[in-house]
């Protein structure tokens, strides 16, 4: 359950991050407003669920304390690795787009400096 909370917190933060204006470089085109709203909604739901998972196992008091820790750990790793991962994701997306399996990641665009 705690592991699930880690996964949902990381996933939720990632989704929210992708909806941020500075994450444009990850997308090949400008996102529609409704996509951004959807991403934000999904992100918040995932974060809330992660908190609920923690409280489920540990009770409200310990659960919330633990979730704040989980959140800090996840976002620290996410934010500090993002600039390094984004280069790699860009390269992969470029390679994939040349092949036929490009559909899944076709919206990814390599950053300019890559």
């Amino acid at each position: 359950m705690i592991l699930l909370s880690f996964i949902f917190t990381f996933g939720g933060s990632l989704v929210l991050c992708l909806a941020m204006p500075q994450s444009r470089k990850f997308w090949s085109r400008k996102l529609d407003q409704w996509v951004i709203r959807m991403l934000r909604f999904v992100g918040w739901v995932m974060l809330s669920l992660a908190a609920v998972f923690c409280c489920w196992v540990l009770g409200w008091a310990l659960g919330l304390v633990t979730w704040f820790g989980v959140f800090a750990a996840c976002t620290l790793v996410l934010t500090f690795s993002l600039p390094y991962v984004s280069d790699r994701v860009g390269t992969q997306a470029r390679t994939l787009r040349r092949g036929s399996a490009a559909s899944a990641v076709s919206t990814f665009r390599p950053p300019h400096d890559c």
């Binding site: 500075q22 633990t66 996410l78 934010t79």
Partner: protein, 533 residues
Amino acid sequence: MKEGFRQSMAWLHTWAGLLVGWVLFFVYLTGTLGYVQYEITRWMEPEKPMVSEVPSTQDLLPHALDILSTRAPNGAHWFVNFPGGRRGTTLRIAWETRAVEGREGLEDFFSEDYDPTTGALITGIRKTDGGRRLYQMHYNLSYMSRDLAIRLVGICTMFMFVAMISGIIVHKKIFRDLFTFRPGRGQRSWLDGHNVLAVTSLPFHLMITYTGLVFFALTYMPIGPAVLYGDNGADKFSADVFEYDDPDPSLSKHVAEMADLPLMMADASQRWGGTVAPISFDIENPGRVISRVTIRPPEDYAISSFVGVLVFDGVTGEMVNDFGAGMSNAADTHDVLTGLHEGVFAGALLRVLYFLSGLAGTAMIGTGLILWSVKRKAKLAQKQKPPLGIEIVDRLNLGTLIGLPIAIAAYFWANRLVPVGIENRADIEVNVMFVVWAVMFIHPVWRPLHTAWVEQLYIASAAFALLPIVNFLTTDRHLGITIPHGDWVLAGFDLTALVVALAFGLVARHMQGKGKTTRLFRPFSRVKTDGVP
């Protein structure tokens, strides 16, 4: 006022942070180590046994009482700590002698450790203050009276609180800062890093700073009790709050038969829900009319360290006080706040998260200090010599940010290398730490700044990397033994040292590679700074 509100807050944030930043770095780092203080102490006392299957509390209890009644039949206060919790792997027995009439205050305190499986006394344990001393430094500092220290730390904590709140006001786009890190861009990167470290663990930082002030609220704000209680207000107030049900001390002369202790233990266990066994207990005035038995649940029983603590009448065997139940809301709030700060209740996972958040806070202060000097140097022309103020801040930064970790490593080295039987051994360990730290402050005065950074980073890396090797050469509690045995607390210490060494080493190589024109510390005029506030 010509400036806007946010600019004035930025000014406040900058100077409130810089003024006490070095002390705060020390407080945050040693405080963070406090979350693993028992684990550090275990590493620093290699003579004690490794973790093992320990006999149950019920089996150990008669042995503990046997020892106490032979070693301290007239003791005024007995303490027993069972193995199995975080506090240690031994059956720890301690007692305080009874004061001789007319010589009150001269009571002696003794403590002994017994192997829980063989029941034998463990001798030759090196004298060390272990992790507890490191932890206490974060509010007691060192080489000064406790009163002065907690006032100094209190002032610094208040500055921290001011810096934090003004920092939040400065960065209105908190959520955006959360995901923004742009490396390799000089000042911009330091600011990004500073923001990310602050924002990701913001609830922790706010909690820890505020609750830190709550600990000594009465020292910092003595006016309340003084107004309510008049003269000697503080004493009367604490008598009201902390002393309850205090039996007449003159009755301690009258001998009485003790009630059955295992029954009290079982009763306590029942009240905690039936599955939890006591981790420790103490008996005031054992074998006397006014005997009081205090029984404590394991650390992770509740956030507040008072909830679950039960007091029994030692003669009748009845429960006379339940700390958790009889408390006012204010006292309860206070205990939960201080409990959150100490994190004693935290299990292994939460402990790691506490430790990470603490390190993030330490790094936040570190990056803030560096940012101050980086920002000012960016405004200098190429090759212009920085003014004295910046030079001083730079040296203090290096001595604190890298020098302090080196000093802490030296504390651990001293633990392994100072001869075991020597007098004042515990104090010598601490002295070594501070002497090494002083050297780390002096070192950058004689060396060019960049060279000094690279050198200290390499020293730090070596100091931590060699720690498991020194441990291997001096004790039989090294990785070759602790890992096969499955003692992950002891192994974890050595492994953490290696990870820390690796981190310092990587940073050192990175800086060395960049040479003297590294963008971390030298000209930023070439680096585009887009819209830096």
